[in-house]
Point group: C2
Chain length 336, copies 2
């Protein structure tokens, strides 16, 4: 009987600025026999996400940094292929956070069963029906307190969180939703497919001017995935009482020098604004509420999504680097 | 019978950078006879406040800018000297927002009776028992949600709002309160008189380093009167879930070039921080609650304060400019 193996991506060294292939190594290891209570899972899809870049640095954050020489962790979904826990029979679809490998085995408490949805790819559990959609929902509801009739600006709107945020904002009653993206094709998709009322290409010119033109009556809520000039533009466009949910700052993830912050922070005082950063781990109690509302919207056909899929565990780093550079529309995934 | 007159300070031109005497004019006008429902008030004290600098610019804000050629408005307290409203007999102590003049007359709806407190100067209604104290209370309670056992940092702590904020924070149960000020004398007062557990002179060195030394376990709440390097230092010192109440940004009020914001805005996300600006006008509904709590603290002798008093309406601009430069400890006032 051939031994089972697992091909895994490890952090080889901490990136300085943009990560490169040299910061990672691929290894294939033999897996030991299962112990009682363990299961072995063959992944179907692996998630690559912007926040992972932060964990590659050795800095204080809400989750500890990845360790050099250890495997990159993150969301994935797969099926049980061998089991030593009767509660997880072979074939069970399971989600986990054990990350960048094609096959994983561990105690079953590390896995959460994910009911198969007829006609729906398991990959959706890693984005619109999962953490990504929940992130958009938490930012708009619990952080920004979006109210009906308000105007919302989403930066990096063609990414996984951004495509979810625009649609959820409209379904929550936003009057006008504006998005920024990094190509003409993405901008077109935002208005044609994702329900954005207006969109602009941030590479076309000054973000502040483009936002002002798209939001002649100002903005009330800002969902930020980008930071930098996008945050400064939002601070300039905010109406009194505006709220920002700061979800990501991809503009600064790969810089080596700290970038200066917005020049117009004093607007926070004169307009009574709120900026609040958040990470999903503090808001997981909203998952049931999100699941109910998103399940309803999804079953009614009100939710569009895109996936950008890279095949093969050995191409995971390529997928990650492409996502950081905006090569994806919607969710970037690795298919095993 | 000699005519009644009013000596008033007008905005002559909009300051660029630091205001100078040339931006203001003094005029003395004859007052007309009172019409029915009007009262004439001789001011006892006039308030000069940092926020007034903002109203001298022609920029969008929560309150409209002062108009060139018109009188500077703001808080004052005085006594009715002539009346055409039986509800406001001569001698009544009244507060109002009609600003920089020695004598003011207007419809009585512009005035609020202020009961005389035995042995207490009417000036306290303009600071610790009034808007200044309320500002400190709103920032700590409604904006920053200060909880018992937390560590608080107050910038510009020797000013009118700062001296109130430190004491209120301790009375609300803060474990440790840290303040910054601009002279050794002020720093000494913060710990000896105002209940601060630690204080430093921001002119002595890097604010971030001094704050880190004073707050080895980090800070949970930041009450900001200064902005600039103080905000950046607070973002570096915040524990997870920290909250900032942004009340003022005196560091930038008199600059002509916009200053870059903090370099460490991404801490907002990784630590789940909240920055919220506020102006008192949106939180006046907290005045009764504040009045009750502060009245109790004050009557128990738990509240210290200082006043820096300048005499004479003609010296109001000097008082204002001195306050902007930090010449005051506690509340800067003009006595008529």
């Amino acid at each position: 009987m051939t031994k089972a193996t697992s091909t895994q991506i490890l952090l080889a060294s901490r990136p300085s600025g943009w990560p490169t292939q040299e910061n990672f190594t691929v290894q294939t290891v033999e897996l030991p026999e299962l112990e009682t209570g363990e299961i072995r899972v063959r992944n179907e899809f692996i998630s690559v996400d912007p926040y992972m870049r932060g964990r590659m640095n050795d800095t204080r954050s809400y989750i500890p940094p990845f360790q050099i020489g250890e495997q990159i962790l993150g969301g994935a979904i797969g099926r049980v292929i061998e089991t030593a826990d009767a509660a997880f029979p072979a074939g069970t679809l399971v989600q986990h956070q054990l990350g960048w490998s094609d096959t994983v085995q561990a105690g079953s408490s590390n896995f959460k069963p994910a009911p198969d949805l007829p006609g729906v790819s398991s990959s959706l559990r890693l984005h619109i029906l999962g953490m990504t959609g929940l992130t958009a929902y938490v930012g708009l509801s619990a952080i920004a307190n979006l109210a009906e009739g308000e105007t919302v600006f989403v930066s990096g709107a063609a990414g996984a969180v951004g495509t979810a945020a625009g649609q959820i904002a409209k379904l929550m009653g936003a009057k006008r939703v504006i998005g920024s993206a990094g190509s003409a094709e993405k901008v077109e998709l935002l208005t044609s497919k994702y329900g954005y009322d207006a969109a602009f290409n941030y590479k076309d010119g000054d973000v502040r001017e483009q936002l002002a033109a798209a939001a002649p009556e100002g903005i009330d809520v800002f969902f930020d995935n980008v930071g930098g000039d996008h945050l400064e533009a939002a601070l300039a466009a905010f109406n009194d009482g505006g709220r920002a949910a700061l979800c990501g700052a991809i503009a600064s993830y790969n810089t080596t020098e700290p970038a200066p912050g917005p020049q117009n922070m004093s607007n926070l005082i004169t307009r009574g604004l709120k900026l609040q950063g958040f990470t999903l781990s503090s808001y997981l109690e909203l998952a049931p509420e999100f699941g109910e509302r998103m399940g309803q919207w999804f079953s009614e056909g009100k939710i569009a999504y895109d996936e950008t899929i890279v095949d093969g565990i050995e191409n995971t780093v390529d997928a990650f680097l492409g996502m950081m550079r905006g090569a994806n529309t919607g969710k970037m995934l690795v298919r095993i």
